[in-house]
């Protein structure tokens, strides 16, 4: 677990959620193209304050959306607002108030960690003395205190991810964009990074948007999710609400023709997807207490034997699978 210093610079600040209470990001009819390729197709979404996961498979348009919000990409059509400011009109005001942790390895060559983070703080407008003090504090917060005088080029992948988080948070932004923050990290490093993000979002009240294709990362750190697929928003809302969307999930294992039974369940209006081994996860929309009876009845009709049936807690995986049609 990372050691979260009590003197963390983020902890000393006024909670961001108190500073900005409206939607942190609003996109309306947003389309972005790379040449002939449509990267974002008529996206409309609202990101509430707090921790929001931007979830989707590779190539869904998550990073493109973040880059468009940063003003790196000019949309073909549509509008974007970040912290209530129009991206097209006030890009610099927005960038003063956000922190960005890019997906790829990024650093400024020839610097050690503390110089780099202090430099980034100065670029964000902090005076030199304050920037240096904050750099030391933030480096301790992300767990790089002991390595802060080492040249960045000697850092491991996990350390590079942490230093990117440090430079993104050093000026105490109102909103953080984290693009695949656990990329390339080993399991221990990944857990520590997620713990840091969770701490930022839930203890330091920092608004953040976490872009990831990893469901557990989003599920652990975020309260809301925007699911993207093929350049569109498949669904969005609070994770709890989406998980509990008027329905129930059952884990079922049968003896008999499983493929045929899946077709029957689908024909009956249920969503089914395979999980480990031969266990199916069946989402019953608008489920009532009678839904188990219905499932047994269907099994009896199709002459398959139900060996295992257990009500399950809907996971973000179910939400994701439903949203992107992987059922």
């Amino acid at each position: 677990m990372p050691h979260t210093s009590p003197a963390s610079p983020v902890a000393e600040q006024t909670p961001s959620a108190e500073r900005f209470s409206g939607p942190v990001v609003q996109a309306e009819s947003l389309s972005v193209r790379y040449g002939k390729n449509v990267a974002l197709n008529d996206i409309t979404a609202v990101f509430p304050p707090g921790a929001v996961g931007l979830l989707g498979p590779n190539g869904a348009g998550k990073s493109t959306l973040l880059k468009a919000l940063l003003g790196f990409l000019t949309p073909e059509k549509g509008s974007m607002k970040v912290l209530g400011l129009d991206v097209a009109r006030s890009p610099l005001e927005i960038r003063e108030r956000i922190g960005y942790m890019p997906e790829s390895d990024s650093h400024i060559p020839g610097m050690n960690a503390v110089t780099f983070v202090a430099y980034c703080a100065q670029l964000s407008g902090l005076p030199a003395v304050d920037a240096m003090q904050r750099a030391h504090e933030v480096l301790y917060y992300v767990g790089l205190g002991e390595a802060r005088y080492r040249n960045l080029e000697t850092y491991s992948t996990g350390m590079k991810q942490r230093i990117k988080l440090a430079q993104a948070t050093v000026h105490d932004p109102d909103l953080l964009f984290l693009d695949e923050p656990t990329n390339g990290m080993d399991p221990k490093g990944r857990d520590e990074m997620l713990e840091l993000i969770h701490d930022l979002a839930h203890n330091k009240n920092v608004n953040l948007i976490l872009s990831s294709h990893l469901l557990p990362d989003v599920e652990y750190t975020c309260d809301h999710v925007v699911v993207m697929d093929k350049g569109t928003v498949a669904t969005y809302g609070s994770i709890d609400a989406l998980r509990g969307t008027a329905g129930r999930v059952y884990e079922i294992r049968i003896k008999g023709d499983q493929e045929h039974f899946i077709e029957v369940l689908k024909a009956a209006g249920y969503e089914v997807h395979d999980s480990d081994e031969d266990v199916m996860r069946v989402f019953v929309p608008g489920a009532t207490d009678d839904s188990t009876k219905t499932l047994f009845a269907l099994a009896a009709r199709e002459r398959v034997q139900v060996r295992h049936l257990r009500p399950s807690v809907p996971t973000l995986e179910d939400v994701f699978a439903r949203a992107v049609g992987e059922v």
């Binding site: 040449g35 940063l70 790196f72 610099l92 956000i98 020839g110």
Partner: protein, 257 residues
């Protein structure tokens, strides 16, 4: 400003680089000694500076302009591209024009330090050693000439180097490209001069174009048979082209379509 200060500080911490900058002032020291002797000994009056002396001095400084440009400039953007730093810079409250200006200022500071600064100091040294302002008064055009030529030289060199630096991720390759372009265009011009027996193709070489403009700025007879207007056009087109390349290359995201 933050970026320029960091860039300058990064260079001045390198001892070898400081040595090169000091070496770049050796011409100034020699000229000062020359002026001192011309003022001190009647039979050495032929060493006294003339207006052309300052033009020649700046010509000699071109050698250091070349080295300092490659040393300081080659990696200015190329290294940032290699380390994916552009997206970090541009995610801060900074436009791409400000980024380019900040990088330009780093190179500008050092190039001014080997052109304008020693030339103006030389003019000042002449007045101090002579004990009067007669020379300056008689050659008042030297102050704007030194300023204008130095600015032109530095602006052209810095923008073209930055444009090259923005086109690669390897500072070594950028240095080779810069040297290659200067030598190749110079060789091309000299080959055409050898074939035609005339120097009307001086505009093909940026260095020759700058020399031609320098002669005009210092009120000397132009050395090549090319219109100064065409030489100026070459230089300005190259500066504008470099800025155009920079504005296209300096982006927070690299788009490959």
């Amino acid at each position: 400003m933050v970026m320029t200060r960091a860039g300058v500080m990064n260079m001045v911490t390198k001892r070898v680089f400081i040595g090169v900058m000091m070496l770049a002032w050796s011409g100034f020291v020699v000229r000062v000694i020359q002026i001192y002797f011309s003022q001190s000994f009647m039979n050495l009056e032929f060493l006294a500076p003339k207006g052309e002396t300052f033009r020649e001095f700046l010509d000699q400084q071109n050698f250091f302009v070349f080295f300092v440009t490659i040393w300081v400039g080659a990696g200015l953007i190329a290294n940032d591209r290699r380390a994916n730093a552009l997206q970090l810079y541009l995610s801060k409250p900074m436009t791409s024009a400000e980024y380019i200006a900040g990088k330009f200022a780093i190179l500008f500071v050092f190039l001014i330090g080997v052109t304008f600064l020693p030339a103006i100091m030389l003019l000042l040294a002449q007045a101090i050693l002579a004990g009067n302002l007669t020379f300056i008064r008689n050659n008042l055009y030297l102050i704007p000439s030194i300023t204008l030529y130095s600015l032109l030289l530095v602006t052209f060199t810095a923008t073209s180097m930055l444009a090259l630096s923005s086109m690669s991720k390897s500072s070594r390759f950028v240095g080779i490209m810069f040297a290659g372009l200067l030598f190749f265009t110079g060789a091309l011009f000299n080959a055409l001069r050898g074939i035609t027996g005339r120097s009307t193709f001086a505009w093909l070489s940026p260095s020759a174009s700058l020399e031609q403009l320098g002669d005009v700025i210092f009120r000397m007879t132009p050395r090549y048979q090319v219109s100064p207007a065409i030489a100026a056009l070459t230089v300005f087109v190259l500066i504008a082209g470099s800025i155009w390349i920079l504005m296209r290359r300096v982006r927070g995201v690299e788009i490959v379509t």
